[in-house]
Subunit: 250 residues, 2 copies
DNA sequence: ACCTGAACACCGTTCAAGT
DNA sequence: ACCTGAACACCGTTCAAGT
């Protein structure tokens, strides 16, 4: 994990270094910005370097060894503030709600980065120990101890963080086809033409569900957020865990 | 969506074409195999072409326009069998369980492809209309109609499919660092050294949670599956939806 | 209809060399 | 300590041309 960048301690910058004067935080911030503009799929280290007015090798010097390490830094920088400003003086079930509502809010602030958090395993775990402890502590207060802690934790995190990952799954890079129609156009048409004979319930529910449920949509949660669906999920989980607590709450 | 390949209708293959004789299904199958071996991050169209003993351009001819279209074909080919062999003569809640247990089983058969299903929006929706109808129909029978259908559907699919996406999030491409240690080694050590002063609950629960909960693991669900956590989640959702059905079940 | 071969504009990553 | 510049081995995608 040697990145060469050991925090600012009033270093004297000399020569060319002084003129450029980049640090890891700036590289990470610029990367997040670029991903936000062009999307994760189109993100490139060389383009990032160009934007920073710097040689590609500089990225490698500031961040660890590879593109994947930059991704890990990005994840860490976003989840780093996850446990800040939480109110610990609430009933355990409300604390759980608070934690995951905040998680969703944070990720929604950087929707393009969501796949990194949800679909990649490397996201510097140390930064998240506070978060884990917070959740375990709420569960503990709710009566979950020993063996019961693990499945409860996983059901919550997997279900809720997983929801956000799917909600913010990026749409395809939209280039119009030969007839000038985008994938969005085509998909919207297909959904509208759902055969009522074959799929009676789907067809009947179209006004309510078209572009607003997971499989039948052509815009991501960054454009059409799933607030109430997430809150229902959160409610089902927290209330359910409350109802079947293996030990009396403390 | 012109792919040039309009299903086999007893075509007479001539010249070089006869010798190679590739079709879309074979390309997709080979791609799935290759992703399974080397991982999604390392997947390349050129390598796929080499493996098939064919020029790179051939992939473009059989599949639509770009790499993303191949991904969509892969997703479709995997989710295509999702609604096969389902037992429709069960209570609605058991039907829901069946659907999502099958979803997880299917994706676990191709863990490396999981990010496509969970973290990319383009996965040819038409193939999944059966699946959507199945879920809507179960919910309908459970008393969910009109407005209530959408959030219930989204909570289920987002929570459960999202869980599987996170469960199977791929680990980093493991190359040992300068001291010959992999990311897995380093991460395992860090977790083991969790400070009991700062994180008392986490430290105390380590034997139960180390490498077995979402944030504190270094192996994916492909190696260490989260069966009971998924079943807990499924149970909380289905039981919860049952308890708060807006209309009497039919 | 299906495939080749070459070409174009890009990548990620490494490394010796500069200040 | 921080950065440049060039080099290497790869990509995805397109297109004219072959059979």
């Amino acid at each position: 994990m040697t990145t060469g960048n050991d925090e600012e301690k009033g270093k004297v910058l000399r020569g060319r270094a002084a003129a450029v004067g980049l640090n890891k935080n700036q590289v990470v911030a610029a990367a997040i910005a670029q991903i936000g503009e062009k999307g994760l799929a189109a993100f490139s280290l060389r383009e990032l370097a160009r934007k920073l007015g710097v040689s590609p090798a500089v990225i490698y010097w500031h961040v660890g060894g590879a593109k994947e390490d930059l991704y890990a830094e990005i994840s860490a920088s976003i989840t780093g503030t996850l446990s800040e400003g939480l109110d610990a003086d609430m009933p355990w079930d409300d604390r759980l709600r608070q934690v995951f509502l905040k998680y969703r809010e944070l990720v929604h602030r950087h929707p393009a980065v969501a796949p990194l958090l949800g679909a990649q395993m490397k996201s510097n775990g140390v930064a998240n120990l506070d978060w884990v402890e917070t959740i375990l502590s709420a569960l503990h207060d709710g009566g979950y101890r020993g063996d019961a802690l693990r499945p409860a934790f996983n059901a919550l995190v997997g279900g809720l963080a997983g929801f956000v990952t799917m909600e913010l799954a990026p749409p395809p890079v939209s280039k119009p086809d030969s007839e000038g129609e985008t994938w969005q156009d085509l998909f919207a048409k297909r959904v509208a033409q759902t055969d009522p004979e074959l799929y009676p319930l789907t067809a009947a529910a179209l006004p309510e569900i078209s572009n607003r449920i997971f499989v039948l949509r052509w815009q991501s949660g960054a454009e059409i957020p799933y607030n109430d669906s997430f809150e229902l999920l959160l409610d089902l989980l927290v209330e359910g865990l409350k109802a079947r607590a293996p030990a009396p709450p403390s």
